[in-house]
Symmetry: none
Subunit: 216 residues, 4 copies
C-alpha cells in the first residue's frame, strides 16, 4: 500500500471512528505512519480529503446501483437490487459509508452541495423504483416518499452494527433486508439467493469483496 493510499485509508478509518472534527491531523499522520507535514504531499486540506472520500464513495455506489438495476423493468427486481446493494455496500464498507452518512454537516457549503447532489441522484433511483411499483400495483404505501426514507435509513443502519464475524453472512443479510423492504412495501414473499446473484457480482467487482464471507 502506497503512502497516498495509507493516508486515505487512515482518514476513512478515523473519520468513521471519531468523526471529522474528532480526528486531528496528527492522528491521521500517526495512523498513516507519516509525519503530519508529509500528509500534505498526498492531500489538499483536511476537508479536501473528506470530500474526496465522500464523493468517491457515493459515486461508486451510484454507479453500482445504476449497473445493478440497468435493464430491469420490473420495479420489484429493481428495488430488491437497490436494497441488496445498499446493504452489502454498508456491510462491506462500513467505514466509508459511515463517513458519507454522518459527516455531511462537517462540509463547507460548496462541498456539501456537491455531495448532496450525488446523494440526491442516488436516492432518485429508489424513488423511481418505488413510484413505478406503486403505479404498477405491486407496492402499496400511503406515503411513498416517507417509505423511501424509512427504508434507506433502515438499510444504512447496517454500517453501524454489522460485523462479518457475526453469524449472518453477507448474502443472508442482503436477503433478509430485501425481504423486510418488500414486506414493508406490501409485497411480501421469499427472496431467493439467485435473485441476488447479479448484485453480489457487482459488489464483488466494485468493492473487491469476495462472494464468500470468508475473508479478513
Amino acid at each position: 500500500m502506497s503512502s497516498g493510499e495509507r493516508v486515505r485509508a487512515a482518514a476513512v478509518k478515523l473519520f468513521a471512528a471519531k468523526g471529522f472534527h474528532g480526528t486531528g491531523i496528527r492522528d491521521l499522520a500517526q495512523e498513516a505512519e507519516l509525519s503530519s507535514a508529509s500528509l500534505y504531499h498526498y492531500m489538499g486540506t483536511k476537508e479536501d480529503l473528506l470530500v474526496e472520500i465522500m464523493a468517491t464513495s457515493l459515486r461508486r455506489l451510484l454507479d453500482a446501483a445504476a449497473k445493478a438495476t440497468a435493464g430491469a423493468g420490473d420495479p420489484v427486481a429493481r428495488l430488491r437490487a437497490l436494497v441488496a446493494l445498499h446493504v452489502l455496500a454498508h456491510a462491506a464498507q462500513p467505514a466509508e459509508t459511515r463517513v458519507v452518512d454522518n459527516e455531511v454537516d462537517a462540509l463547507s457549503d460548496a462541498a456539501r452541495a456537491r455531495v448532496v447532489a450525488l446523494r440526491d441522484e442516488y436516492e432518485e433511483l429508489w424513488a423511481q423504483a418505488i413510484e413505478d411499483g406503486v403505479a404498477a400495483g405491486v407496492f402499496h404505501t400511503a406515503h411513498p416518499a416517507v417509505t423511501r426514507l424509512a427504508l434507506l435509513e433502515m438499510c444504512s443502519g447496517v454500517a453501524r452494527w454489522y460485523s462479518p464475524r457475526g453469524p449472518l453472512p453477507l448474502d443472508g443479510l442482503a436477503r433478509h433486508y430485501a425481504e423486510l423492504a418488500l414486506r414493508a412495501l406490501g409485497h411480501p414473499g421469499e427472496v431467493a439467493v439467485t435473485d441476488l446473484r447479479p448484485c453480489l457480482e457487482v459488489v464483488a467487482q466494485v468493492w473487491d469483496v469476495p462472494h464468500q464471507k470468508d475473508r479478513k
Copy 2:
C-alpha cells in the same frame, strides 16, 4: 428561560447541528448569550454537558416506553407502541435524539458505558416484544435481532429528515411507521389512530408536545 436552561438548549441545538467536536465552548456561549466563563456556572466540563443531555434524553425515552407498554400483554400492541413512541420522540425532539444517536463516539469510556447501558435497557424492550411476538406466532422473522436493529434504525432516521412543517402530521407519521414495522414483521394490517392515543398522550406529557401538529 433561565440561563441554565439556555445553556442546555444551546448545547442540544449545536451538538445536533455541528457535532460535539464541531461545537466550541465559544459557540455555546454565544448561543446561550453568556460569556464563555459564565457557562461554567451551569455545567461541569463540556463532556459533562453532553453526558447529561444523552442520559436525560435516554432515560426519558426509556420511562416513556415503559409507561406506554406497561400492562400490555399483546406483543403487537407493545411493538406498535414502541414504534410510535420512538418515532414521535425522534420527530418531536430531533436535536436531542440526534445527539444521543450520533455522539456516542465522543464520550469517554466511562461515560459511554453509562449511556450504552441505558440504550441497551431500552432496546431490550424492543427485543422482548419481538421475541414474544415470534413465540406467539404473530411475528415472523428469520433473524429477530437483525430485524430489531433494522427497525430501530428505520425509526431513528426520522430525526434526520422529518419536519413538522411538511405535509405529514405527527400522528400520521407514527401510524405509517407502525404499519411499516408490523408489515416487516409479517403482521400486516391497518393501524388505527385510536391505537396510538395512549402513546400520543405519553408523548404529550413527557416532551410537552401538543396533540395537534399545529405549533411552531
Copy 3:
C-alpha cells in the same frame, strides 16, 4: 502600561525592527510579556494589528499636518511646516513611521487600499503647497511631482538613521531639512527657529514629545 498597550508597543517595535513577516506571534508575545494565546484578547489577527498601527499613525500625521498648515496662505510657510513636521514625526517616532513606510506590501489588498488612501491624502498637502509655490513664483522646479517625491523620500529617510542621542537636536534637524527642501525648490535662505515654533508645538501635543531633546 496596560497589556493592550504593551501589545501594540511590542508590535511597533518588532515590526519596525524585523518587518511584519519577520516577526512571529511568539516574538510579539514575549516582547509584550504575555502568552501567545493572550495576545488575542487585545488584537484581531496579526494583520489587523498592523493595519491599526499604520492607519492610526498616518491619521495622526495627517491631522498634525492639517493643523500645522491651517490658515497659512504662504506656500513657503506651508512647505516649511510640512517638512519640519514630517521630519520631526520620523525622528520622534521612527518605529511607527518605518512600519508605515516599509510594510505596505505586507497588507492584503483591502487593507492596503485603506492605507494608501490615507497616504495619498497626506501627500496631496505637499503637492498643493509645491504647486502653489510654483504658481506664485517662489518655487522653481521643472518636475514638481518628481520633486515632491524626492523631498518626501529625503525626509522619511530620517527614521532610518536619526538618533536623539546624536549631536543634532530635533529642532536643529528640522531646520536643516527645511533649508535643504527650500533650497531644492529654488527658494534658498535661512530658516529661523521661530518659524518652526508652531510645528514643534503641534509635535509636542500630537506625539507627546518634549520641546527639548533631553528625554530618555
Copy 4:
C-alpha cells in the same frame, strides 16, 4: 536564460516585491519554473541567495561609482556623477536596489557586517565629495553628514516609484536629481546633458541599460 539565472531573477523580483521573509522557497521555485528541491542546485540557503544579491549589487554600484568619479578632481563633478549614477541605478534596477535598501535587517549578523561594510565604502565616496566641496567653498551645508544621508535617501527613493513608462526619461531624471542635490548643497545651476554622458555610459556598461529609454 539559464536555470541558475532564473533562480536569481526570481529571488530579486520576489524579495523586492514581498520581502525576504514574505517570500517562500516555493514562491521562488514557482517563479523560476523549477521544483523547490531543484532550487538547491543553484543556491545555498535562502539567506545565501539574499547575501549574494546584495553583495553583487552593491559591489557593482561601488565599482561603477569609482569608475565614474575616477580622475575627477572637481567635487561638483564628482557629486553630480554620484547622484546621477545612484539615481540611474535605482531607476534601472529597482528590484535589486530595493532588496539592498530594505532587507538588511533580514541578514544574520555576519552577513550584515559584510554588506554594511560595502555600503559604508560606497557612502564614503559621497562623504568625500561633499567634504571636499565644502572645503573648496563650492558646497555650503551646516551638517555635511546629515546632508549626505538626506541626499542618499532622496536618491534611493527613486526605486520606490520611478517607472520607465512615465513621462520622464532616465537622463531627464538624472539631471533633475543632480540639480536638486546641487541646489541643496548650495551650489545651484543647470546640469547639462553632456555632463552626464560619462555616467550614462558607465550605467549602460554595468547594467546593460540602453542609452535611450525606449526598451521593454
